[in-house]
Symmetry: D3
Subunit: 334 residues, 6 copies
């Protein structure tokens, strides 16, 4: 099996320990993240081959970011260095009814200011057989949008699968491009849609409800308008409070509708990147299993991610499979 290729910003994540606020202690911790990178690292942790494409800073932070990605055996040979700083985000972790809070420092980062000549897609995709993108990348800058589109176009030509997580984050789109039009252009180059009612209503200009019936109708309409899209996967989260969630998933693959049961996740450790863990599980699963098992694998991967600090799912295939098989009692492994 070839490489899964991910393209997107690498962010340094800085946060106080536990549930503290920055005002409370000067001892803090960092990890690296970024939605597409999270997907890539998670797949590498399952044993898949992964390459991540990005632009990082030409200083000790960029060097540390690359070494962080190397740790997981992800191929960093297509990451370029630039004179702009790496994007940073500051996180305060909530609990119970207190929300977690994120502040970004990314608007002039090395990735946002990426230029088309910085990525050689022919070379980058040479071993690729899957390309994953999200709605964050086209939101950042014209350069990021252009490079992404170029990559998707080449991927389609080469018959590489393209998965799209077209999350629409309103606060990001500042460089002038119309978000909806941008996403539509890119979805026409994608084969797997990872998203729910909101994302479909956004690009279809519809008003579907959250019911399963509407999910199926919306999916059908989506596939009609975007013929490249073959399958739709949706993850549904119910938040009891910051520390207690439930997760389930549903799918329409053009032929059948399936859904999973709720997974109950109380005593959450870190919920950042759980959507990325779902996407990673799905990509890994679709490369190896049938659609329904892939979705259940994705769902289990998403659930277990809530138990790791940091953006990234550190679970192995074995650990996810245990949860998929219903073994959620967490007994001690010696």
């Amino acid at each position: 099996m070839g490489q899964v290729v991910t393209f997107g910003e690498v962010l340094m994540r800085i946060s106080p320990r536990g549930n503290k606020k920055f005002i409370q202690s000067n001892v803090i911790e960092f990890f690296f993240g970024g939605t597409e990178l999270n997907v890539g690292i998670s797949i590498a942790n399952f044993g898949g081959k992964v390459k991540h494409i990005s632009a990082v800073s030409n200083d000790v932070i960029g060097e540390t970011a690359i070494s962080y990605i190397n740790k997981f055996g992800v191929d960093t040979s297509s990451i370029v260095r630039s004179n702009r700083p790496l994007g940073v985000y500051f996180l305060e972790v909530g609990a119970v009814m207190r929300s977690s809070t994120i502040s970004y420092n990314r608007s002039h980062s090395s990735f946002s200011e990426i230029k088309p000549e910085m990525v050689n897609w022919e070379e980058a995709l040479i071993d690729g057989d899957w390309l994953h993108w999200t709605g964050i990348t086209p939101a950042l800058s014209q350069g990021a949008f252009d490079i992404l589109k170029e990559g998707l176009t080449l991927a389609r030509q080469k018959g590489i699968s393209v998965s799209a997580d077209p999350t629409y984050r309103k606060g990001l789109w500042k460089y002038g491009k119309n978000p909806k039009e941008a996403l539509i252009e890119l979805l026409h180059l994608s084969s797997i849609f990872i998203g729910g009612i909101n994302e479909m209503n956004e690009v279809l200009d519809t008003n579907y409800s959250y019911s399963n019936e509407d999910f199926i109708e919306a999916s059908k309409l989506l596939m009609e308008k975007f013929p490249s899209i073959e399958k739709v996967f949706d993850k549904i989260r119910t938040s009891l409070n910051s520390s207690w969630h439930k997760i389930r998933a549903r799918m329409w693959n053009g032929e059948e509708f399936k859904e999973t049961e709720d997974l109950d996740i109380t005593h959450i450790v870190d919920r950042i990147g759980t959507g990325d863990a779902f996407a990673a599980g799905l990509i890994y699963g679709l490369q190896r299993y049938d659609d329904y098992k892939a979705m259940r694998f994705a769902s289990a991967a998403c659930a277990i991610k809530h138990t790791y600090e940091g953006d990234v799912n550190l679970a192995t295939v074995g650990e996810v499979t245990e949860v998929l098989e219903g073994n959620t009692s967490g007994r001690l492994n010696r």
Copy 2:
């Protein structure tokens, strides 16, 4: 709106990290607290103007205490320095069925040995329009009692609102004064009573039960015996275990009885100072909202405090208001 003035001991709080005991690790953390200071800082975090009056040590710990209070923008200009050490308390944080444990080292502290000439109330209250006291201060020493009484008397003369949280902590009263008589003297100088059945029975020499009916009767009798008191607010806590509580509140303002619904708080981070968070929310609310909304604001403030480490509620008005409006699912703020 003028300053809320708080008067009371500043304590250094020292504890191991997480749920450890001191015997387990030599790496520990400190914050500062003290019931009246907690109220003051919390109100400052809501955006209120606050002055705290106290006596701290004339050494690096006293200097650190003042810098800690400054951090929150609380006016420290009326805090005096003395040759006595700052009071300290050592905390081990319990979990599940294990209780948290506190050991005090405060009996000869800079605040306990405060002398009347150390506080100039005319100057201290110059911008004040609210003065808050608790039952801890008069319990510490004759000096503390005398200064408090002097301040309350002046406040009454100047028409400043006085809120009382007459918590009776038996172990503290060691200098000879009769606790009940002391509290009665001080309540005659107070307008808002923050306390429940136990506190009312104590000063009324009655035997009311915890029922709402008895609460109303007790409140009426209290207002009869203490004509200065205009309103009574009570916070009720139900502990499932060290990590899981429920909070609700009720009030009698001379005209109507109101109560809030239970707020469910599971996965508690730190329960110290949650009563102070209630008092702070109430004072801030009574200055701005009607009695019922003030109480609901107080109740939400109390609940969200359980999610912050340290003695102090770090929530903003916006965060408390979200909880007040029932938005307790803790979604991620980007």
Copy 3:
């Protein structure tokens, strides 16, 4: 009352903080543990006199291990030093549906390579009136088995009570001895059996179910085959997930069957060593209380251990007794 004597391996336990994996941070923590030592330290924390017998390394780690045991007032005068390193285990703490993971580095440790001449049982038992062993020790090496058997034999001669926790951990038995035969030899020298259906089926070659009826039948048969055994105590754990368990206990003392109610333990801090906390509570209890109260004390001890980091139950008799009496709401102790 004389000393409780425990004999077994001392292990250095190394783990990342919180729920981190080793791959996530280079800052880690250590404690010491080992199933028999855990029992000993816990009894010392209750105020009992305890001696632990072991072999530790002749380097800074062995020195640190001894100082760790000294901390709790356990008699270390019969611990010998050898040129072999101390056994180590590496722990990653799970959460929710993620299991905790342990990796051992113990197979050629100072304890595994213990030689009979290294323990002088006559001297070691001089103040002893209870000897406790577990199924871990005979699994480690011929030397460990031989010394243990020698000690049990002498204990029987001197009329010292012998408690057995014959846990069978399959992965450990590598030196050639047949596990079942070994355990049978040792159980013939024991008076108190701490174990459940699995352990009884193992040595009886039976197939009893988990029902109370079968528990009683199995216990009766056990006492018939092993006339030295007087009482059987069983602890039953139900795992909802890694962070939420329930514990109850049952017993057959030859005359009556008793069981406790479930203790609900949500927001678990650390579940390692909770079985040892049960054994410790039981031994301490049997020396002082009737069988049923001893079992309830053991059960409460087991439950409260889930709130301490590390292998060892740090609760006092007072704290356990509070839980035994149903006071599990964890109110603040000032």
Copy 4:
């Protein structure tokens, strides 16, 4: 005495602990700094009244920055909040022959994008009798230059002393302004020049050597070309290695030349901000002492700063005075 007013960027300083690199550990620490703020906080620590003017981010980091400045009793009422992130710098601390390394992320920060309408100088200088600026601020952006010039102009009109530390950092000047011309404009509004041969050669277009004779000549020429300048102070550092420096100072005040002896600083803890400590000592000293004593105070302040982690000199007047008086043996204060 009135306030010393400082105007400049607030930077979050993030660094690994000790001499580690970011690649070595994910546990890091932060302080806040910025050359003009460092001067302000240091003067506040001496007991002087200080106001700092800046623009910080409208998020948890900006909130933490303000609370940090508040800690030291510096007036933050003229600091504005904006939608841009706070500037950050990442520091790796060298040792022996390894240099410390700094990477900045400041080019689109809240301060760089400050706009003239954001600072009300009339109000900001209301209690001011000293204004301090450095060459960093005009290097950042047209907005920063314009606001600074506006402030200096008003200060001159009001007869407020203006001290200039016209450090020229080449890498910063990117917005189009000619550095030399900018500094010349601003120096014409300044009364105290804190800088050495390099800075004077820069604005005078001369080629003076480091000798005392040339220093005097250069100073005279400077005062001739910039009639507003009354005094010149220079600090000279000799680096044996990263951990061992020597510091001395010299001055020309239009009338006499003076210099101090070398202060030997081995076992350096942190050399960042030691120049700012000199400037702060000088300003504090010039307000209270004669020129020569002021310079010796500044020199001692600079030296002792090398013993504090972080950007800021935490020494009191008493501690600096001890060093000034030659008491450098560092005996224990009980």
Copy 5:
């Protein structure tokens, strides 16, 4: 050889990490210390038998203090618990020309308020053949003085050696007793005098200089006035700065004068307790070696203590002996 018995206050020592001040970080560390305890633990680390007598608090801090002393194998069976808190000291560690700073919170501690009936000297000295005291203990309270005097008197009767380190710390003597008279009373019960010119001038009312000649004269006079004193040992420290000291020692044993060469100690880690390390080395040495070797052992012990964090010398006899033999190059031990 019997036990060395030490009697004195146990203090909790709390300090920020590295060279930080409390104002800089809320993460701190603790150890335990106290001049006489430091002597005791150091001797135990050499392998000597030691008992420490004290009064500690009846809370988690007292419990932690006892466990700390147990760690080193020091006999804690004569330590009593009381309702008063344990004494605390707060330390900020200086560097270069910055002094370290200590603030005490000890004046009403469990030890200061010790009562004669709390120590049973007959029992405490049962295995003792050396008793060590310092000038700190009689300075604290009448009770401490009385108990100490009672112990010394009994020791004399039993022929136990008594070493005195009559450090005079002026700030402590607050309970009314005249310091000089108190020390004179106690020195009449002592056999070994550990102190220098200052201490001798203090009790002799003389004015000797620091020269060796005067040291000999002073020692002779001391022995004349205090016939019980047999030997005088003096340790001389030269401080280049906080991080760089030199140490040498000299003695007069009634027959001969000896002195050691300077030991050069640069890159000091922690200088607290280095005098106690000298005393400990001396006592251990006098029990085993001739006077001159004992003094050189003491001197080496003192020097190596500067390399350990905390109050206590953690060196073994082997490590001290290496330094004594001139092997100070610190090569790696594998």
Copy 6:
């Protein structure tokens, strides 16, 4: 240029922070090291291509070790996993006259028990043009010796350069092989000798002194007896104390003798692995520079390593070159 291939044990290095002992704190840190790996990572940090061959454990520690090596971009594809634990070493860092102490737990590690079939040298050397070994590997076990010899033999056949650092560590050779004979066999397969008088005397059975004259004579004799050896490089360390060393180097390449001047290294951060840094600098230099410059590069690399915590030199080529060029004043890089 092809890969430098290193073969040797990977050790987990565990140590307390700063200069603490394990007995002082339960918070510790880990890195990975091992003499040959240190060489490999250092060369990778210079930008060279490197592959490391080893056997690590099949658990979370082995996984963490591989991710650690990946961080630096070293090729880990030839590292195998086994059921044995990873070797560990425990380090306490000395200071001044206190030695650092290391305790190993490696005798039955995954690497010691490596079997010939576990390494495929043909594949491992496919891109190699340099192979480095040390005297540690053949000391560990027959398996390690055999595999090493097989690799060296193949390397010679393929014309790959072989560098030898034949350090003789007496305590390790326990499996029966005669150390001298083993080293002689392996040196006959080597081209570069990195070692001094001791190592040459060992294999030559001679008695040369440390003088330059004897160094040249010894080198000549060595090349005579071992015709494969072309060059000899020696690094000389002078230890003033644990914190202050001097380093110089000398060489004989069959034609000329050269030596460097002393590099003075005071305020040492970590001296472990400085010899490996020398070897790495030498290999990197010999591949690119003339012999004398290579030696000076090696010497500078060795010196700067003393400023990094951990086993590994983290310096870049640029940083080493600065030191090589005499720029040792460590000025701040912005």
